[in-house]
């Protein structure tokens, strides 16, 4: 129960402040608390209590006012961007940021869809939960092809931290021994259905360099006593995750890291606290805390600490840093390099292909699985051989078509109804997930005039897909079609949509790590080169984006950074 730990004003000086309670912030808070530091977790959104406040959970479609659809005027006025997220609906809306209250701007001729959480738990409540280690290549490729700056860490620096977070969060998957996609500490994988088992055989036989493996996700497929003791239970395969899960079957701050942090007795939580900026002391060259505007009353207050961790989400963190101006840092705290706000990336999710499959007519499945098969990266592994740099992996979904298949036909009447009563033919979907190269030109800055209702300058986002991205998209589309044909699919269609960056909801970069203080903001410990007690441990720190889902890597980086910070702090070196 979080209520006894919620605070508003505080004159204390904490050991550490963690800004943001999403995946990264939850991990940073837990690790710092477990190291004995007194921690204040600052969240701009309202409190959400695990189980109690999952108000949309378990409602049948007919129990929702508009069967899941959000009121048109409400969506138009307050959620014009958030409504584009696949998970935005009547039962999840309360966990999303409000676009009217949290406006942002985009540079002329550019678009960027910024999907945002706004509650305790942040986007850990809303995420898609696919969890993959990055491979050694992902931390070496900047150096190899000269795009971006060299990462100051390598896979081996993170391997033990991956293990630590995986054992605690609970990651389901299969052991595969693929160098580019290292295995995690796994709970059992979710099963493949009959068609997928068949397709695995077909693809791996026809393409010796491809692997067709089950997806990996932060769900308790078969919880051990370790998880049950934490109050977490087995995944019920309900497919309603973003409404909140009372079973605690998927990893979220609320189901996992927050209870652990609270258990230490070292945590306090300040909700409805919009961080305006980081306070900085010119004499000591240290961050001293954060300036906060109350989300409800607009009153201002300060929180003080010896260490500040920014985990406010990639762009949230960039916005706070850019708005933290001082004599030493007129363009934003810790920005002596001038790269703060630059090298924004997302993943390339614009390619989709699908086809139907004849056969396996009696095969079905029960429940909706929280993951699906993937084909790990297979291009440019030993150097660039494609027209484009970097790589992609393919995500696969198979299902028996449901009643929606009846919408676009001229049929009606009793026969039509009887036909829809049975599952439809199998459908195979393949989608790409590609890497965006870090580019200086893809950037965020503060808008010179526009502010939000808390008086904070709006973020001005200037980000575009590049030629490399378009080349990769076309190659992905062709590969998806080729694989569908190899699988024996019919009625194959494929497309490249024009979604702008942002909608993959894997935005990364803007406060990058690097070896050189003149070209990066953070060192290999996620510590600002310029301000030793200021750490950034969310997606903002990433020096490249890989092609692989980033959240598990955020967990490992945040846990590592928190422990390295605690080491320094306890040695009085901060």
């Amino acid at each position: 129960m979080i209520d006894p730990f919620l605070i508003k004003k505080s004159n204390k000086k904490y050991d550490a402040i963690v800004v943001g309670s999403g995946i990264s912030g939850g991990w940073a808070a837990k690790e710092l608390c477990e190291r004995g530091l007194k921690v204040l977790l600052v969240e701009r959104g309202p409190p959400v209590r695990h189980r109690m406040d999952y108000t949309g959970e378990g409602k049948a479609p007919w129990q929702l006012e508009h069967r899941g659809n959000v009121d048109f005027r409400l969506a138009e006025d307050q959620y014009p961007i958030q409504r584009k997220c696949y998970a935005f609906n009547e039962a999840t809306r309360q966990f999303f940021g409000n676009d009217r209250d949290y406006p942002y701007s985009t540079a002329e001729g550019t678009r960027f869809d910024w999907i945002r959480g706004n509650s305790l738990g942040g986007r850990s409540l809303l995420w898609h939960r696919q969890s993959y280690r990055w491979g050694a290549i992902d931390f070496e490729e900047n150096l190899r092809d000269g795009n971006g700056c060299d990462w100051p860490i390598r896979y081996d620096d993170l391997a033990d931290w991956y293990s630590r977070v995986e054992k605690f969060a609970g990651i389901s998957g299969s052991v595969e021994n693929i160098p580019e996609l290292p295995d995690s500490e796994f709970l059992p994988p979710f099963e493949m259905n009959a068609l997928e088992t068949h397709l695995k055989g077909v693809i791996e036989q026809k393409y010796p360099n491809l692997k067709f493996i089950q997806g990996r996700c932060a769900h308790l497929s078969e919880p051990t006593q370790f998880f049950i003791d934490q109050g977490r239970g087995k995944c019920m395969a309900r497919d309603q995750c973003q409404r909140g899960c009372s079973f605690g079957a998927y990893f979220s701050t609320l189901s996992s890291t927050l209870p652990a942090a609270i258990k230490t007795g070292n945590l306090e939580i300040a909700c409805n606290s919009v961080v305006h900026s980081v306070m900085y002391d010119e004499k000591s060259h240290r961050a001293t805390g954060v300036n906060v505007v109350d989300a409800e009353t607009l009153e201002t207050r300060e929180y003080a600490a010896n260490i500040v961790f920014l985990c406010a989400s990639t762009l949230g963190t960039a916005q706070i840093m850019l708005n933290s101006k001082s004599a030493s840092f007129p363009t934003g705290i810790a920005n002596s390099s001038g790269v703060l706000g630059h090298y924004l990336m997302d993943h390339i999710y614009n390619v989709n292909a699908s086809g139907t499959f004849d056969g396996f007519e009696d095969a079905y499945y029960r429940g909706t699985r929280p993951t699906g098969p993937v084909i790990p990266r297979f291009v440019n592994l030993d150097g660039q051989t494609e027209k484009f740099a970097r790589g992609y992996f393919l995500r696969i979904g198979t299902e028996r078509l449901n009643v929606n298949r009846g919408i676009d036909t001229p049929e009606f009447g009793a026969d039509f109804k009887r036909k829809l009563q049975r599952p439809g033919p199998w459908n195979i979907w393949i989608g790409g997930s590609g890497e965006m190269i870090p580019k200086y030109e893809n950037k965020v800055s503060l808008h010179p005039e526009k502010t939000d209702k808390w008086g904070i300058p709006q973020l001005l986002i200037d980000c575009k897909h590049t030629e490399n991205d378009y080349l990769m998209m076309e190659e992905m589309r062709l590969k998806c079609v080729e694989l569908l044909e190899a699988m024996g699919a019919s009625n194959i269609s494929s497309s490249i949509n024009d979604d702008p960056p942002g909608l993959a909801i894997h935005e990364m970069g803007t406060v990058r790590m690097g070896r050189d203080p003149e070209t990066s903001v953070l060192n290999g410990q996620n510590q600002c080169h310029d301000v030793p007690n200021l750490f950034v441990a969310d997606g903002a720190c990433m020096a490249s984006s890989s092609h692989q889902n980033p959240s598990l890597t955020y967990m490992a980086i945040a846990a590592r950074a928190a422990n390295l910070a605690a080491d320094l702090y306890q040695r009085k070196e901060l």
Binding site: R51, E57, G58, A60, P61, W62, Q63, H66, R67, G68, N69, D71, F72, N89, P188, F190, E191, N193, A194, E222, I228, G231, G233, K234, C235, M236, A237, R238, D239, S246, F247, G248, D362, A363, Y364, Y365, R366, G367, T368, R369, P370, N402, V403, N404, G406, I407, D408, T409, P410, E411, F412, G413, A414, F416, K417, R418, L420, Q421, R422, P423
Partner: protein, 211 residues
Amino acid sequence: MKSSNRKSLQTTEPVPVRTEMSRRQLIRSLAYGCLGLVTADVIAGKPLGGREPGGPVRSGQILTESQMKLLRALVETIIPQTDTPGASATDTHGFIDDQLANCKAPDEANQFIEALDEFARVAKAQWGDDFANLNPADQQAAVAALAGSGVPFEKLPAAFFRQLKALTVIGYYSSEAGASHELVYLPIPGGYRASFTVADNGGKSFSPHTF
């Protein structure tokens, strides 16, 4: 599947729910039950209050009484009563009225309503009575003509039938009877099981959670 036999998880078998009782209580009891704290309640079923097609109909939030009456007959023609209720008994016309009033762009809603009125006018001219009063054979003939954009509906917007069909399908299969009587509604499957056949599900499809 291995996991469903786990001793401590014996309450995770699927629970088909047809009930108005507290879903929160159900989820909580199952969530705790999973942890071996309590046993899940057995959920009692509750019969649905099905309504006969025909009879009086009230005006909706945006649709008039006569538009609602027409729509009720249209959705019933598209998804009629069989051994399970049809689309009119599940108030699919009420669902459509709600979507038009609250969830569609006003332009889109207005165009749909204009097309509905035009359909009413043309059908009456062709068959000599309000669509709702026609015999089932004539109603089916009219909807078949509409579906094919044929005579006498060739001047109606081609999108109208698709919109009507989409709203009818979504409205019906997201209703309690459509989801849980016509199809199989399984709110808490108890885990994912791949070794499961259509026959295991009585030849039926699971109802979708989202449309």
